[in-house]
Symmetry: C4
Subunit: 201 residues, 4 copies
Amino acid sequence: MSEADEQERAPEKETGRLEAFSDGVMAVIITLMAIDLKAPTGGGFSDLGRTVPGLLVYVLSFGFVGIYWNNHHHLLRATVHISGAVMWFNLHLLLWLSLIPLVTAWMAAHWRDHAPTASYAVVALGSAVAFTLLQKAIIRADGPASRIAEALGSNRKGQVSLVVYVAAIGLALVNPVISDVAFVAVALLWFVPDRRLDAWR
Amino acid sequence: MSEADEQERAPEKETGRLEAFSDGVMAVIITLMAIDLKAPTGGGFSDLGRTVPGLLVYVLSFGFVGIYWNNHHHLLRATVHISGAVMWFNLHLLLWLSLIPLVTAWMAAHWRDHAPTASYAVVALGSAVAFTLLQKAIIRADGPASRIAEALGSNRKGQVSLVVYVAAIGLALVNPVISDVAFVAVALLWFVPDRRLDAWR
Amino acid sequence: MSEADEQERAPEKETGRLEAFSDGVMAVIITLMAIDLKAPTGGGFSDLGRTVPGLLVYVLSFGFVGIYWNNHHHLLRATVHISGAVMWFNLHLLLWLSLIPLVTAWMAAHWRDHAPTASYAVVALGSAVAFTLLQKAIIRADGPASRIAEALGSNRKGQVSLVVYVAAIGLALVNPVISDVAFVAVALLWFVPDRRLDAWR
Amino acid sequence: MSEADEQERAPEKETGRLEAFSDGVMAVIITLMAIDLKAPTGGGFSDLGRTVPGLLVYVLSFGFVGIYWNNHHHLLRATVHISGAVMWFNLHLLLWLSLIPLVTAWMAAHWRDHAPTASYAVVALGSAVAFTLLQKAIIRADGPASRIAEALGSNRKGQVSLVVYVAAIGLALVNPVISDVAFVAVALLWFVPDRRLDAWR
């Protein structure tokens, strides 16, 4: 293979494998949660009824991870260079996301209790902080004049999410249902299309 | 990296990562179901016999997810643009498909009961509706004059599947075996090669 | 995006997504088996000793799936066109491979019994037949004058494997250990580098 | 498709699928470990407390696999040719890594015992040896004058890791906590950015 071939190959590879690995991890996380949705032990409709809280928590977490996948996708589309720091901050984000199935299973089984909902909020906060750090690492790697730095100039949704998750940790100690509403509200916020990001496509 | 390089890279990436993530999720779903096929507790041939209903339901669900992967593959091969809506409708489809292992495990354990089979039909219907919505979102993104809009002009198989799944929900309340036959019939319908789609290849 | 862009994209995509999905499924299969290797219940070295048969069966199955991944990789490197039939025969192969964790877990727990080892041989035979069918479908899609048809002209290793697996089904009813030796022998056969395939690289 | 098209496709594919499969396996390994983090049975904060040792071992193993993914990524970026031997040595590495969830689960449950920690050290050592063998196979395939042979000329971190893991096997028999400290120390060593590898990016 000539030097020229390698040069040609380079652009494709810079973010490619980071995306592939992250996709793999997020795909496994999102489907692993479905494993914790144990099939009802009986065969009647009433047995199905008892799985409803678990199903709702699952849908929330599926949306949560789906939003991260979506944001991660857009973030890396605009990314040009991958530094060592970007690699580690990306793994750090995946570490937080990988705890989602654990807190999902716990909250599904004990949704009326304080500790599982507070833990869910902690993992959500950790993920949001990790995503913010990843963004900063990418801006540092690509430079302040890059397309990504410009596009992310104001990151209001991310900041609102951080504040709500911090509040949700405390609110879970008062009433877990308030925190649940907060989680759903943040998810809905992200579902609304984001002009800033869509402009890149 | 020059502007030109990035331009060159763009075509490859537009649908690439959506496909990669969907492949990952579907690959995990299809193999996770095999986990619920617990190895027999004893070591004799009679123990093997008891796993037969579970194995049959597994093969049905494997075919079901396989058909979706196949259709998804063809759909996205003909897709040019990915909008925000396409991303969300794709996640919506994956959410329904991720419930297949749950209803598979339930039906495998209680295949004579009404509720598990009716639930299976509901998830099958949800998946079919989600796929239809994804198609519409893609047509909206690519425009009515696009290759995909033309090719999908008449989508008879999809419509037949929707009707059969609705019927299977009701029939499961009469006799689950009738619904099982309906599931297999829909699967066979999709195995028959589809000229319309093959023409794209 | 212009017509030319799409044309350019085509070569990359023809086998790409089939490979990606198959890789995903095989990656999950190979690592799911490790889940069935439950951590010992006690914390002593004697507890470790009891996991040895399970570990050995795991290593065998890991090698088995690894060989299929390797052969699949080489087969698709030489493949140019993907027909609908190739898609289905590929799924059929993945279905057989997805049963490997099940028979692995069963054989690990009951390696002295006839039924688990015979079942393992049946799944091994099914996988080998499925791979042969996939090869034939690819040759049919690429044409008899294609590079792949030529290269696969004589497929002695595949034929030997089929014969040994058929024999292993029967031998398992006599003494499971004979079949185990046969499984290891077939695996070793494939580890020896294959000039015919290496020539493509 | 013309001969020219195939030629063009070749550079992209040489290491591509090996990376994709390895990514898949490592992504599943890293997230499977989170499954063994069972949600607490009760719903209180004290129940959370009991999961702390498990969480810490999980974070260690996540970092361990993350480091291998990172190193694997850099190694294959600099790789040009894939020989049959490279394929097998890569699978050999994945086999060792796939045992990490097993020893993680065991160590999480019995972190005060000798056997689980010693086993963890054995798997860590096996992985490190497998990575070294993979490097050598790649250098053999690419030739002694290749970019990779030059870059890996001195591989001090790898050698230090090997020595520490050997020591950790013995130290686990004295006091498992000493080995735990050694595992963390090796992980930190790898987190420090490596000029030699960064120069390739």
